[in-house]
């Protein structure tokens, strides 16, 4: 115990804590502000080419954060600083807020906002006092996702030379005889995660969100930008260039300049197809597991069910290597037959990424009015039939979004894949890191580009789903 305190009570740990906290706070705030502002512009103003902007604002999801980090570092070293780190992670993660916010704005009945305007409230007041409270579950869910991503983020921060608790844990595993020290740091990280969950729970409150209106929802009247139009368009364009143009530009530059970039198509397609399969299976599995958890938490609200829902988050705040080594120890002692099989790897993904599915599934479940299910029951539908005929069609978009989100996360996962995958499995992410860390940037570029290409369908699906109005 004394040793543990000695290890934790040092200036170095203080510095790591401070770094982690300020990145978490500012990263979440900036991502949320950018995401909500983007969503509001696309959904509520008369900005031209809205469909295109929507696509561009979702697209950064397809660019893994570490690729974004590489792109920025090779462009300017100014990003190797606290403001730089906040900027790069926000550019990578704001779509996690943007997507649910757009969807919520679409579903929101414009009548409420119009009433407020008619009562003489100004633009800002309507936004702060009417719109924002109404879309807050979606915004909070997105912000929570950003927070969880930031707690687990390693690759991008390593490149940005910004040490946090997570990079320190990884570094502990890069020393001999680590063990207890890394575990101590991981516990600190879990505390952070619990804190984050508590805050989100407090802000969420106990309100029910389902709308039971009559008839279909009308298109909102869009706010005229007028003279502000060029400024707004310029801002959106800048965002797109910074979040997409910089990383992709850097990759193309490597591809052209490097001599180690003679592409081995066999290896590339091999890595791409195993990435695809793992992402698909991981996405489906996590979504399937999320449904009962969320259903309990939403329909049978109580201390126990909330505790179950919240508990799935804690594991995800730990870096992949902690989970992976734990699975190594457990499986090799208890069930050696499954060690380093596809099944065990999927269990690892499930532990790491279940919360991402839960957040997304939860936000749709909450919008299904329980009355609909009750009505179906009273009309003689059996329980399973209600689930199949009423609930499922309503939540299907949320389920697809959950699967797509997890698939994106699996595709970029590194450490658990390295430790647990069946021997000989190469994914695009493992290949990229292996080449990039041995300074073979030219060879690494095709893998990163393939990773982006592979993430396009998931991103496209997410973009489409968020535009559906229900």
């Amino acid at each position: 115990m004394g040793e543990a305190t000695d290890f934790l009570w040092r200036p170095r740990i203080g510095e790591l804590l401070w770094n982690t906290v300020r990145l978490l706070v500012l990263g979440v705030l900036v991502s949320t502000a950018v995401g909500v502002a983007g969503a509001w512009v696309v959904e509520r103003t008369d900005v031209p080419a809205r469909g295109w902007w929507h696509g561009l604002l979702c697209a950064p999801l397809a660019v893994p954060a570490f690729v974004n980090g590489y792109g920025w570092v090779s462009t300017t070293h100014a990003v190797q600083s606290f403001p730089g780190a906040v900027m790069v992670v926000s550019l990578s993660y704001f779509p996690l807020v943007y997507l649910p916010t757009v969807a919520a704005l679409r579903r929101l009945d414009p009548a409420v906002e119009e009433v407020a305007t008619a009562l003489g409230k100004g633009l800002w007041q309507v936004f702060w006092r009417v719109t924002l409270p109404a879309i807050s579950p979606a915004v909070l869910g997105g912000a929570l996702l950003v927070g969880l991503h930031l707690l687990a983020e390693y690759g991008a921060l390593q490149l940005l030379n910004y040490p946090t608790l997570t990079t320190a844990i990884l570094q502990q595993y890069a020393t001999v005889f680590n063990g207890p020290e890394a575990t101590l740091l991981a516990l600190v990280l879990v505390t952070f995660c619990l804190l984050l969950l508590g805050i989100e729970l407090l802000l969420r409150g106990r309100r029910r969100r389902a709308r039971v209106g009559s008839g279909a929802r009308r298109e909102p009247t869009r706010i005229r930008l007028g003279r502000r139009r060029p400024v707004v368009i310029g801002g959106l364009a800048l965002l797109a260039v910074w979040a997409l143009g910089v990383p992709i530009g850097a990759l193309v530059r490597w591809l052209v300049r490097g001599t180690s970039s003679g592409i081995d198509w066999g290896e590339l397609t091999g890595a791409a197809s195993s990435t695809f399969v793992l992402a698909l299976l991981g996405g489906l599995l996590a979504t399937a597991a999320a449904v009962p958890v969320v259903w309990l938490a939403v329909r049978h609200r109580g201390l126990v069910t909330t505790a179950i829902e919240r508990s799935v988050y804690t594991a995800s705040a730990m870096p992949g290597i902690v989970i992976a080594l734990a699975l190594v120890t457990v499986s090799i002692r208890a069930v050696p037959a499954v060690y380093q099989t596809l099944g065990l790897l999927l269990v690892g993904y499930l532990i790491l990424f279940l919360p991402r599915a839960v957040v997304s599934v939860r936000s749709t479940f909450e919008l299904v009015p329980p009355n609909l299910e009750e009505v179906a029951r009273s009309l003689g539908c059996s329980g399973p039939a209600v689930a199949r005929r009423v609930t499922l069609p309503l939540v299907l978009p949320g389920l697809s979004a959950a699967a797509a989100l997890v698939a994106l996360a699996v595709a970029t996962e590194l450490t658990a894949t390295l430790l647990l995958a069946p021997i000989g499995t190469e994914t695009l992410a493992t290949r990229f890191w292996s080449d990039a860390s041995s300074v073979a940037y030219g060879a690494a570029a095709p893998y990163a580009l393939a990773l982006i290409a592979l993430s396009v369908p998931s991103t496209w699906l997410l973009a489409r789903l968020s535009m559906r109005s229900r």
Binding site: R12, A168, Q171, A174, T175, W254, R257, L342, D435, G442
Partner: protein, 338 residues
């Protein structure tokens, strides 16, 4: 209708892609040699096919970093599926050795490797080596300004001018050499000095990049980072050059990549054949010709086309057995690097 088709299509696509993945990890008829490989992959990608061609023994690789894989092997213990462990540097190998998981290598098998690059226990062997160097930005400084000793970098005149990557096995090996040559007090003072003077990066590749771009004047790395980039595109080496320490200075330390056979292996005969291939002239020549640009340790083979040939290096006399990785981690934690 459209949805159903799409779903069926996805199902078929998934099935066709999963099947090869499943069979790939399922039971092969031929037993294959499992290598946990922490060396840079291109090296083994060049060597393994030649080994299979010569012996008919199939090889499978699990790739990772030194200490990730060494920790994994220690966790796996006797149940480890690995037959052979290859590292980039020695601390990871020493960790597995200390856990008592390595099988003694027959002396005649590793005879081609000079004794200095093998531990006295005979439990593993070095097979390639890398030299510590200073990489410096040629626009900001020149070779004449470089210090005579690595220890000089702790002096105040180097404040704000040096970069290094204290995390990971590579730098820990350099510190271990300083510790062995200079003792604990001097090593701690040196670490404190370079902590005050230097900028810390997480990765040797990032150090090289920072120096080349003029972020910082000088970096402590191994020779092959600069050499590789120089050969590839010059993207992160066109404004920099390398400086080698001499006269047995701690900064001239040469660290080795290790190879060992695990006690738990049920393919020891085949594993020994692999080690034999790894250290004999043919295998070493393949390593020398590869993209790795590390120095082969078999004196019969020379690495061509690098700034300094192995024979011109003047490393200090440090035996790999004397590198105390545990003490190094304690010291670095005390100083606040970890």
């Amino acid at each position: 209708m459209k949805n159903r088709l799409l779903r069926a299509g996805l199902g078929v696509a998934a099935a066709t892609l999963v099947l090869p993945l499943l069979t790939a990890c399922g039971g092969d008829d031929e037993p294959t040699l499992v290598i946990y490989n922490a060396q840079h992959e291109p090296l083994l990608k060049a060597l393994a096919p030649e080994f299979t061609k010569e012996t008919g023994i199939e090889v499978e690789l699990r790739n990772g970093k030194d200490l990730e894989l060494s920790n994994q092997i220690v966790q796996e213990g006797k149940a480890s599926p690995a037959d052979i462990f290859l590292t980039e540097n020695s601390p990871g190998m020493s960790q597995v050795e200390a856990a008592g998981l390595l099988d003694k290598l027959p002396a005649d098998l590793v005879a081609p490797i000079p004794e200095q690059y093998r531990p006295r226990s005979g439990l593993w062997t070095g097979f390639v080596a890398r030299s510590t160097v200073l990489v410096y930005n040629t626009d900001q400084t020149d070779e004449a300004a470089m210090p005579a000793s690595l220890l000089d970098l702790a002096k105040p005149e180097w404040k704000g001018k040096i970069a290094f990557s204290p995390t990971g096995a590579d730098f820990q090996a350099i510190v271990a050499a300083v510790l062995d040559l200079e003792g604990e007090a001097a090593t701690k003072a040196w670490l404190e000095g370079i902590k005050a003077n230097g900028k810390v990066y997480d990765g040797n590749n990032l150090v090289l990049e920072a120096v080349n771009s003029g972020e910082i004047e000088v970096g402590i790395v191994y020779h092959y980072y600069w050499e590789r980039d120089h050969k590839e595109s010059g993207d992160v080496s066109d404004h920099s050059s390398q400086y080698y320490f001499s006269n047995g200075d701690p900064g001239a330390f040469v660290s080795v990549s290790g190879a060992g056979i695990l006690k738990s292996s049920d393919m020891k005969t085949e594993a020994r054949k692999f080690i034999e291939f790894l250290v004999n002239e043919k295998g070493q020549q393949i390593l020398a010709d590869s993209y790795a640009l590390e120095y082969p340790l078999n004196p019969a083979v020379q690495l061509e086309g690098v700034q300094k040939p192995f024979s011109e290096l003047q490393p200090p006399a440090v035996n790999v057995s004397d590198l105390d990785a545990k003490k190094v981690v304690d010291l670095m934690t005390e100083v606040g690097f970890l």
